[in-house]
């Protein structure tokens, strides 16, 4: 029972080998599915997951069961529905879904079958990032195993419910992770986002109601069904429920990924699990949940990792993987690296993002080259407003502005140093 407080990683072994079907079953695997399919109505499954308080782990934090309950399911609507596991993990600094898929593929598969049952979808897709070759091989193998044991295919566990899972591998483009762009990508179109509304859960893949959930979100589902709502709620330390994969990368002593209760203080992740900073380096700040979250400072170390708590501190929980900024890395250069990523990955569909991100990059490069003027900082601040939520077609551009706006706030001196410095150089000796 010792491992019961780590449901997501209980099968994950240090040697990076993967849990086969037999391994997975030996620790309670597919019991949640059995319970759902033999004893619960789809609506009950939705309710369990909603009551458990499982919030989307792909960045949005939307209650998964609540999302499922909004799918039209009456007898008089079209009966084709789809479920999609969003496995496009490409946000810089994020490395959690890869581990889940490579080392315990059945956990995702079971979560998908239960989710598909809950919305009565007979086809599900895993939208896997093209670079994740090992995950592809292991998932493909696990899908065969699951089919051969009757967990997938016609009449799952001899019930009236049939379903198939198709493994789709993408070809590398960050925007495909945005759920409506993902739908276009899956239909073989250029992956630009779609207007919302209509939301995918009403009009999604090929116009059919479609639920898109993150890999980690789906991996939580089997345990909620197997061990129950109360047990799941008991896992969180703060307001939010359950456990989550939290990680740290950068110049910490032991970069890594750990399954920890929601609501754990950031300090504990960085100091206890990641072992604090490497010798000779000091903590300057961090992005708490991937490249598209606002910087926080050492003074925020006692903020707890709950969705609202991190938002109140001025950032987002995001993907839960912390990128650490040390005192010997220039925050302006770091922001340039981030903005280059976003500018490159912009799909080019809407003007503010298509033009605004390259402009941001140019300004940052000029500043770093000593060619910046103090007004450029106002221009950059103006761009963060121009690309704010609501002004662009999707959340890529606003996400890109988060590290920039917070860097301008917290590290303004570093920006000014390049500017003042350049003036000093030009002064006659």
């Amino acid at each position: 029972m010792e491992k019961m407080n780590k449901p997501l990683t209980k099968n994950i072994r240090p040697d990076r080998a993967f849990a086969t079907l037999a391994d997975y079953e030996s620790t309670g695997g597919y019991q949640g599915l059995r319970k759902a399919i033999t004893g619960l109505q789809p609506k009950d499954v939705q309710q369990w997951v909603k009551d458990a308080g499982l919030r989307g782990r792909g960045g949005s934090g939307f209650n998964a069961g609540l999302k499922w309950s909004l799918v039209p399911m009456d007898a008089n609507v079209p009966q084709t529905r789809y479920l999609i596991a969003n496995a496009d993990e490409m946000e810089p600094g994020t490395f959690k879904d890869r581990m889940l898929m490579e080392q315990d593929p059945h956990q995702l598969i079971e979560g998908m079958i239960i989710a598909a049952y809950a919305i009565q979808a007979n086809t599900a897709y895993i939208f896997l990032r093209g670079e994740y070759h090992l995950a592809r091989r292991r998932l493909a193998y696990a899908l065969l195993e699951a089919r051969s044991k009757g967990y997938l295919g016609e009449q799952v566990l001899n019930s009236a419910f049939s379903m198939e899972i198709v493994l789709h591998t993408s070809a590398g483009r960050y925007i495909c992770g945005e759920e409506t762009a993902l739908l276009n990508a899956l239909e073989g179109k250029r992956a630009t986002p779609r207007a919302k509304p209509p939301f995918p859960l009403v009009t999604g893949l090929w116009g059919k109601p479609t639920i898109v959930n993150n890999v980690e979100t789906l991996c939580n589902v089997p345990h909620i069904l197997h061990y129950g709502v109360e047990w799941y709620q008991g896992l969180g330390r703060g307001v939010d429920k359950g456990t989550k994969l939290f990680g740290a990368s950068g110049r910490v002593k032991y970069p890594g990924l750990w399954e920890l209760p929601m609501g754990i203080p950031i300090r504990e992740v960085i100091e206890k699990y990641a072992g604090g900073m490497r010798d000779g380096y000091k903590l300057r700040g961090f992005l708490p949940g991937g490249a598209s979250t606002d910087f926080l400072l050492p003074e925020h170390l006692d903020v707890v990792l709950d969705y609202e708590a991190v938002a109140k501190a001025g950032s987002r929980l995001g993907t839960g993987t912390i990128i650490v900024l040390d005192d010997q890395t220039c925050p302006v250069q770091m922001v340039l690296n981030l903005e280059q990523f976003f500018a490159q990955e912009s799909c080019g569909w809407c003007t503010p993002c298509r033009d605004g991100l390259p402009w941001t990059v140019t300004l940052l490069k000029d500043i770093l080259a000593g060619k910046g003027r103090i007004e450029d900082l106002d221009t950059l601040a103006g761009l963060t407003r121009m690309l704010a939520p609501g002004n662009t077609f999707c959340a890529l551009a606003p996400g890109a502005m988060e590290p920039l706006q917070s860097a301008l706030k917290y590290f303004r001196d570093d920006f000014e140093r390049y500017i003042v410095g350049s003036h000093a150089i030009m002064e006659p000796a």
Binding site: P92, G130, G188, G247, G250
Partner: protein, 159 residues
């Protein structure tokens, strides 16, 4: 190099592409898979191949080109037998990906995107490979190489 005449997609390619279509509501949906199948056999997607795939899927070459050029992993120019994708996203950058790129390019005497003279390698940047706890990293062919150091050349090309 002698110019190869395009003789159409091979039976194996056509078979694999057609097998994929059963998983989707329409044929256009297999565009990316089809391009990747072609690439598996030919390393890159030439104009001739693109047109042949478009015909097979009943879509216009322009539509397929719009898809092909959208993705980082579809090559519309010849690449080496093994493509080395080094991660240049934030954590790897912080821990030295620029130097790694320089060392690899110098070792092969190529610029980014060029093929080494023996046709073996091409070096390209790639976004975060989801292994930031082992930064800096690269993907050599299908394989991740973690925790690269200043000996990246040895670590990647063997001793």
């Amino acid at each position: 190099m002698k110019k190869q005449v395009f003789e159409g997609l091979s039976p194996a390619e056509i078979k694999e592409i057609n097998a994929e279509t059963s998983h989707y509501e329409d044929k256009a949906a297999v565009s990316i898979e089809a391009l990747k199948i072609v690439q598996k056999y030919r390393r890159w997607v030439s104009d001739d191949c693109l047109i042949a795939v478009a015909e097979l899927l009943d879509i216009s070459p322009t539509q397929l080109e719009a898809v092909a050029t959208f993705y980082n992993l579809i090559y519309r120019q010849p690449v080496g037998k093994t493509v080395i994708h080094y991660c240049n996203s934030v954590t790897c950058w912080m821990l030295g990906s620029d130097q790694i790129q320089e060392r690899l390019c110098r070792h092969l005497n190529v610029g980014l995107g060029e093929m080494s003279t023996d046709g073996e390698y091409t070096i390209l940047p790639i976004v975060c490979l989801g292994a930031c706890d082992h930064a800096p990293v690269a993907m050599v062919g299908d394989e991740l190489r973690l925790d690269l150091t200043e000996n990246a050349v040895n670590e990647i090309f063997g001793r």
